[in-house]
Symmetry: C2
Subunit: 428 residues, 2 copies
Amino acid sequence: MKTYQEMSKEELTQELTALKAEYEKIKGMGLALDMSRGKPGADQLDLSMGMLDVLDSKTALKSENGTDLRNYGVLDGIPEAKKLIADVIGTKPENVIIYGNSSLNIMYDQVARAEMFGICGNTPWCKLDKVKFLCPVPGYDRHFAITETFGIEMINIPMTENGPDMDLVEKYVNNDETVKGIWCVPKYSNPQGVVYSDETVRRFAALKPAAADFRIFWDNAYVVHHLYKEDQAQILDILEECKKAGNPDMVFEFCSTSKVSFPGSGIAAIASSETNIADIKKRLTIQTIGHDKINQLRHVKFFKNVDGIKAHMEKQADLIRPKFELVEKIFSDELASRGIGTWMHPLGGYFISFEAPEGCAKEIVSKCKEAGVVLTGAGSPFPYKKDPKDSVIRIAPTYPSLAELEQAANVFVVVVRMVAAEKFLAEK
Amino acid sequence: MKTYQEMSKEELTQELTALKAEYEKIKGMGLALDMSRGKPGADQLDLSMGMLDVLDSKTALKSENGTDLRNYGVLDGIPEAKKLIADVIGTKPENVIIYGNSSLNIMYDQVARAEMFGICGNTPWCKLDKVKFLCPVPGYDRHFAITETFGIEMINIPMTENGPDMDLVEKYVNNDETVKGIWCVPKYSNPQGVVYSDETVRRFAALKPAAADFRIFWDNAYVVHHLYKEDQAQILDILEECKKAGNPDMVFEFCSTSKVSFPGSGIAAIASSETNIADIKKRLTIQTIGHDKINQLRHVKFFKNVDGIKAHMEKQADLIRPKFELVEKIFSDELASRGIGTWMHPLGGYFISFEAPEGCAKEIVSKCKEAGVVLTGAGSPFPYKKDPKDSVIRIAPTYPSLAELEQAANVFVVVVRMVAAEKFLAEK
């Protein structure tokens, strides 16, 4: 098959005419499909329904240390939930605070408290003229929304296949004391599926920040979200690496069971150094009396331990792996073969990050919408929703059924071909 | 029986000697009792255990509008939970946002967002030189902790039997634009059990605040927490009264099921005007994807409707009413009869607010502690923990068993008598 780069003007014209006809036909079908949402499918959620049976009116709702979990108290989580989450992310229970249902809320809180009260005695960020965050791109739109809402200046850091461009990260962090944080999704990054290499993690740990209150916001959202049994990424424990490098307080690590049990009804946690945990608890005790301990117990009883979570995630992987493979196959056959799009092959996480020819993403998303296929907005994976190359489109394959996904992906590839053909033709 | 005021120096000396001997005997008993905690007793929590049976793996976890409650989404609560809470506090579902497990956390968030972003387009409080809150006293220590943590200046407003001293409230609110809020527990106030009269509520609604962003923080914590079937307080709907008075946006109302179902595993809510709700949601959508919808459904299925909640609360009242009555009887027999203490007879809520002779509260709390009876710290019900008269002691009768409570109350009255006798003697 000829790539679009190789096609003559005539060939491209012919291709475009055929694609336009096909597109019109698709538009007439009245489709209503959605590849925008990073949500588990109903079949994945079905796997957690047993969680509703592990507690009943006969259960003694006591923690292993005897606390009555039905009553007030326990600011930082019940011991058995701390252990479970610590084992999941590979740290110690004493480094963990269990919150409510949302790790995003914990991240917002961390930024909000830094703004209002400062981190560990440092100047509150709201008193500073300028606060900057580094944002590896493409990244997670809700991270960027938090920093944007506080008026924090966001700086794009390009991603490589090993993680963020560390030369650039070091340049900023080690020299600019207005740089106070960086958003990271170290394993199966949103949206590319990048796994941070050991070297990347070690370079993070070895940073020499100009700002005493610089923190790495380490969103380990996909820590157990492998797609393949035989090819599971492991990343180094950033807390441990930072400690070894003499930067014990440099990291806030986040995780949740949102895409393990039930989104919205899971448990979320932060892990950090003893000093940071004490700093957080000093304020947290004003914010709340405690989080939902019964739901913490429910999770512990259902999963039992980290192996239970891993086994559960294998079942989920069996459900979503075919979806990822289907999309990748259609993209390979229809787009890569024509030289009009690239992506990284993800080994886990929730997304495929498709890179269209430059200047095409917005048009593709818009044309797909017209044809009844909703995609994540072009630009979403970038600060201020501005993709400098107008190229990245985040594909979320988990929520639709396989049949819907096939239909949606087939519409998508026709639209990409049409928009790319137009672009290449205009440049001839 | 003679009151201490009526006793001669000799009689008081004799009384004190006897009490000191009794106190020493009590100290020798090695008691470990606690009347400090506003927590439900285990028997109250037992009443909610059925809540763990209303959902199981066979339940369709759908909202009445078809939403899959197991997945992401629904920022402001499922419709049936909004209706339940609206009926409890007497407002409309569209005025309600259902949150997670803690109304305290909602209040903190409201103050935090006002500080960081301002209310409805007004200047963020953190940019102002001075922000003040009115604090009816005695009041709830955790309210005061929130305003203190933000450096908000707190002004004591004396409570009357009809609510806060409204002359003073009007004077401050209508003339001082740095006064941005007031903490209210309008029904069965913490700790006195005061019920705001209709006139008080109407005077609140008719305020003419100097500050456009003045808000009443209306913590309707004990809305269904009656002690008696035949004597249940009703207060006017502040949202409706404010609307009628032309101040539709002046109130944030809070409530939760913390002392209805399970503290820590209940649902909490804010109710406010359409304008305020829209202002809140604009930021809330950055903070979180949504709260625990399955727990919302669990509450709706268990209680069914507001009548279900009322019936449930009657059962709780049957358990705690004898505790309140026991404490009041011992106080009447041993203290009121001797002229050394007053309190209001509460018809609901969680506390009895004992007022010792001036200058005695700290000493009483300290001497009780020495004898193995823990009380809420003297000063706690006041901003900055400073009781100007050193008189108020908050008694929490719900958590101990009746037998423990009787023992604790009997120690308490001996200590009050001893400390009061010493004081009266010193003044002879």
